[in-house]
Amino acid sequence: MTVRRVMGIETEYGVLQPGRPLANPMLLSSHVVAVHGAAREAGRVRARWDYDDEDPLHDARGFHLDRAAAHPSMLTDSPSVAVPSGNGPQEMPRSAVEEYEDPGAANVILTNGARLYVDHAHPEYSSPEVTTPLDAVRWDRAGELVMLESVRRLAANAALPDVNLYKNNVDGKGATYGTHENYLVDRAVPFGDLAARLTPFLVTRQVFTGAGRVGLGQRAEHPGFQLSQRADYIEAEVGLETTLRRPIVNTRDEPHADPARWRRLHVIIGDATMLEVATYLRLGTTSLVLWLVEQAQEGGAARGIARSIDRLALRDPVQAVHRVSHDLSLTERLELADGRRLTALEVQAEYLAAVRSALDAVGGPPDEQTRDVLDRWESLLHRLGEDPASCAREVEWLAKLRLLDGMRRRDQLAWDHPRLAAVDLQWSDVRPERGLYHRLVAAGAVELLVTPEQVEDAVIHPPQDTRAYFRGEAVARYGGQISAASWDSVVFDVPGAQTLQRVPMRDPLRGTRAHVGELLDRSPDARTLLAALGG
């Protein structure tokens, strides 16, 4: 029993040139990425993204979307060459012409194993793979510092536009951009079971994972406040799309790992959160529910326990997402398929009870972080029912609401006053001197889980217990000899070699420090490393 699994967070940041609302967001975003690349010894990080193993149109329900039928925004890979196979370095022909660098495809592979690039019209930080929710917080926070560094560098360069970046998900005018969680899940679980057992959880977890939002409706057409940034944009139960008709459960089946063993669950319903406890519990509780679903698949006592989850099926999950988000009292009852009517807190309590029962039944003492996630989950559900204001140090929508209500009371403001919308936006400005969340940190008004030193270390260094270690360390040590990399490969271009050499990393739990640390230490250059890997 453990909260551990391979996971990560991708965050698209809001991008703004002060005073120029019509500035081209693609251009601004590519500046954000390019100044970072320049900041880190240019040549080492000019590596392209290796798209060979990407397949964004593969659907977890077992069919493949025809490229011609796909919305252009879904084509996140590029025309690919045949995917090589095998385990050692693979030889690849070197391109006869110089690789074309599309400035709109700005892409940096960071020494911490993350990817910084332009996705649609936003700079995106995709965190390295981690195995615990606390590490997810660390490398997610590191992403905020990566973005801050670009903001500072652009501000210091008179030839380039100033850019401000916001870790949020809506502009209040109809646009939304994503914060996606990724979880590696046992392939043995049928996708239908996974989606069905996860849906009521994802619908109701916003009571403690929501970042809060000023405005109701996709275009904030009605004044008010709600729990979640993303809720009003969720329009389907299950689907492949991420940019339109966004679903509660996304079916993109692109595991970036051995597809016979794993699927990558791509969760697009979540909000970007500044509060560390919110991020920690979002990842931690979701991982525990996935554990329960995997256990149920294996049979035994967990299978019976999971039936209590099956009874939580909602009559109208999409409508329930909106209703939970709009109910600040947390008392509204949701209709279940079996006719019962439960509050979001009660649905969450059922999930917590099921996870705890499965823990008792399946056995094995929980590790420290698992116990901590369970205790915090229970404590929050209890206090959200009794005294929600007491959760303002841990729950982001309540921390934000606390400020907004204070301002409304003090200044007699109605919900449609622009100062309140400004608070909502400026909340997530990555600059500590401007971001309102950071003012709360300075005042000691929110709980922190990681130290500034741990976050700064995570900007430079990869997690040690996933393949992100090999990726990040390879970029740090042999960056000048890497021509491309991806989640599951690093392509080396060693001077004098006849071909490129591609190191596949199909197992996210190999390439760890324990696995390759000594090998890297023994290899002063890429040639030595590749010889050792091939041997």
């Binding site: 698209e12 809001g14 991008v15 703004l16 005073g19 120029r20 609302p21 019509l22 967001p25 925004s73 996705d119 649609h120 019209a121 936003h122 606390l134 809506v170 502009d171 209040g172 005018k173 109809g174 646009a175 939304t176 951009y177 994503g178 996606h180 991420t242 940019t243 697009i268 420290e368 901590d372 404590s379 206090r383 204001a389 007491s390 140090r393 606390r402 400020l403 209500d405 204070g406 301002m407 009371r409 003090r410 622009p418 100062r419 919308a421 400004a422 608070v423 936006l425 400026q426 001197e433 401007r434 309102l436 003012r439 709360l440 300075a442 005042a443 008004a445 709980e447 889980l449 130290t451």
Partner: protein, 64 residues
Amino acid sequence: MAGQDHVRHRQDDEPADEPVTPPPAAANAQTRDAEVDALLEEIDDVLEQNAEQFVRGFVQKGGQ
């Protein structure tokens, strides 16, 4: 985990023989208001001066 703040325990955790004087909800609310007012003062200094213009100018393209 070390170094974390602990959840503030409620008044009913106190020993029973102490005089039971739970602070009225109003007093709690007043304390909370005072805390928030202090935070707001800090935020007044950094909040965009022209909130309306800032909000109107915050235009994004949709993403994933």
